[in-house]
Symmetry: C2
Subunit: 383 residues, 2 copies
């Protein structure tokens, strides 16, 4: 019998299990599982990347797919890394690059995590999928669920931008609008899933969205010629991308694919919903639910992220940090990204530029740094 | 002195000239120039593609850039080629693939042509850019003009979908709305350009948009392992992509990069504006201006394409054809693309699926064919 390519390890209590079926949370402590691979590919495997198809699945040795298995894919990943020399000059740093995740199927970074989660959910026997969403994850699940041929139910706050709600329905998902925030939608999604036999692909409630998001880190590494940047500013709602990149950089370093320290990871949130920033500043190891979360950056309206503890570890272990910016600043910065770098940034993407200004003031990011900002989705979805 | 990498040949009278300055149309006969390269790269150069940056500029030997010159780029190209087995079954053909050009900066195929045109216009000394547009070219010029640091004026029909008009303004272009169609906008753009010193990057009025669009063909070739598909269905407004792919496949065959016959190129238009289809059916060598052009597929509302004669040559030389489909069919087919292939197709993209049905009925496309449909832009821009 071939040994398994991967298994699961609880991020909190260290319990392990195999990957059979449809794993959700650790049955001992209800914390997220993380995927552990038996044999990371050797650095020589970099050479093989060249001839692979143009999607994140070209890194399949690092991802939860079996040899010869076809993933559910719409060509997600391989997004542009756009130099922004005018922003580098304006903020007095060596280099600024924008990783433009709006150039993805379904127009946001959510494509990566959902492609991975839907691939494994389908393989594990799911017959119906559901997700609570602050926005773009619902769009992505609608498309990937359709691509997998599985019916999909999406639960979103009534306050979600109208175009995101419209886009969720384009691919054919059933959409249910609810009062409250993503946490309230999560409760309804769980109840619905239990009642109707759906599988819930909420952030960190299954182990594979993180693996898809890990490709953000793999791509940065490859695009920079396996020489990682100094600092990454990432808009943090659920935190899957932050955790995914942290996991990715650790895996790449252990496997000898990259050398040197991990990039400093900086989380940016809105002052209207900043549980990770608050916990970081108070030196706590977990987040406290944010009362009355309010922000136009709907992807940041996550008052009690399940990945809060892991996000905080990612920030601290990499020597990074966390900043909150008011909505008016992140909106202005999104416009500035369009006008200086010709990128149609989402409010969340704009937040990273607003954060750069703050992090330069405090010298957390230094003049000789190579900095990456993440535009996580398309600006038009919020207009 | 190094010999020039490329020069220009008139597509009609065969006159040649060098590429200095800002070439527009042939000064002898007012027909479009085509780029001719001194030395196409040998097939062994395929190996070098692997390590190149992730954009259409990885094919730089085939493109109008000098060694070491930095193009104006937002990471355009390397778009997904998505298999659509359900559509292949439904239409009784061996394979259907959708080249999803909505996964581009500015959300359409126009990014390719405008990146090339703006790169050369800037290098040639242009200080201001202008374009008449049926829609997405205006969005692309707004972004690439901004990326090049050049002010941009866009002229569009009042009937252009509102979200396209909004998107043109996102990157900072000045937008002027006019009565009439793209031809009327072209007159105003020319007058404005003469008066204000702008350079007009209209379809085929300069020789480089075709070169950018050529990368559609290069990418298909590479994505299919240098084994070209049997048939390509392409929504044809101005025709730049059709002409670009025809030119590309001829260049690839002469250089020994691919073997065998060219893919059959099929143009699809709306029955509300079908000058290329009409001329093809009447076996004419040029198009006749279409009176009262009307279609929801704004990119197809081009009643008198400057590239009409070249488009007709491309269709005939490749053994392809041309079909017109009514708006209600192309709209329904766009919805079908979202619901079967999870691709948010534009009306123009939908038209290619409606055309497939027609081309199967007439057996112009046969059961053993590998067929590529082009989704040229994002559906949301039209809602």
């Amino acid at each position: 019998m071939t040994p398994a390519k991967w298994w699961l390890v609880c991020s909190e209590c260290g319990k392990t299990r195999d990957a059979a079926g449809l794993p959700t949370l650790c049955d001992a402590c209800q914390s997220p599982w993380l995927v552990r691979y038996a044999a990371p590919p050797p650095p020589a495997a970099k050479q093989a990347l060249a001839d692979r198809p143009w999607s994140m699945w070209r890194y399949h040795e690092w991802l939860p797919v079996h040899d010869g298995e076809s993933p559910v894919t719409l060509g997600e990943g391989m997004t542009p890394l756009v130099p922004a020399p005018a922003l580098a000059r304006a903020h007095g740093v060596a280099e600024v690059w924008i990783k433009d995740e709006s150039v993805n199927p379904t127009y946001s970074f959510k494509a990566r995590g959902l492609a991975a989660a839907v691939t494994r959910a389908k393989a594990g026997g799911a017959v119906r999928l559901t997700v609570p969403t602050a926005g773009n994850a619902g769009v992505a699940l609608s498309a990937y669920g359709r691509s997998a041929g599985l019916p999909t139910d999406v639960f979103a706050p009534k306050t979600t931008p109208l175009r995101i709600l419209e886009q969720i329905q384009v691919y054919g998902a059933r959409l249910e609008l609810l009062d409250g925030h993503i946490g309230d939608c999560g409760k309804r999604a769980r109840a619905f899933a239990e009642q109707e036999g759906g599988f819930d692909v909420s952030t960190l409630k299954e182990p594979y969205r993180i693996e898809g998001k890990k490709t953000l880190g793999l791509e940065l590494a490859e695009q920079f010629g396996w020489d990682l940047p100094d600092a990454i500013i990432y808009p943090t709602g659920g935190g899957t991308g932050l955790i995914g990149m942290w996991k990715c950089f650790n895996e790449l370093r252990s496997a000898g694919w990259v050398e040197g320290r991990s990039p400093r990871l900086f989380a940016v949130q809105s002052t209207g919903c900043a549980p990770v920033v608050k916990a970081f500043e108070l030196q706590e190891s977990r987040t406290t639910p944010w009362p009355n979360p309010e922000t136009v950056a709907s992807g940041l309206r996550v008052p009690a992220p399940l990945g809060g503890a892991l996000s905080l570890r990612a920030l601290r272990e990499t020597g990074g940090g966390a900043v909150a910016v008011p909505d008016r600043q992140l909106i202005a910065a999104a416009r500035q990204m369009a006008h200086t770098a010709a990128i149609d940034a989402s409010p969340e993407g704009g937040a990273t530029l607003a954060a750069l200004e703050r992090l330069r003031e405090t010298e957390a990011i230094q003049a000789d740094h190579r900095v990456v900002l993440f535009n996580t989705g398309a600006g038009w979805l919020y207009r």
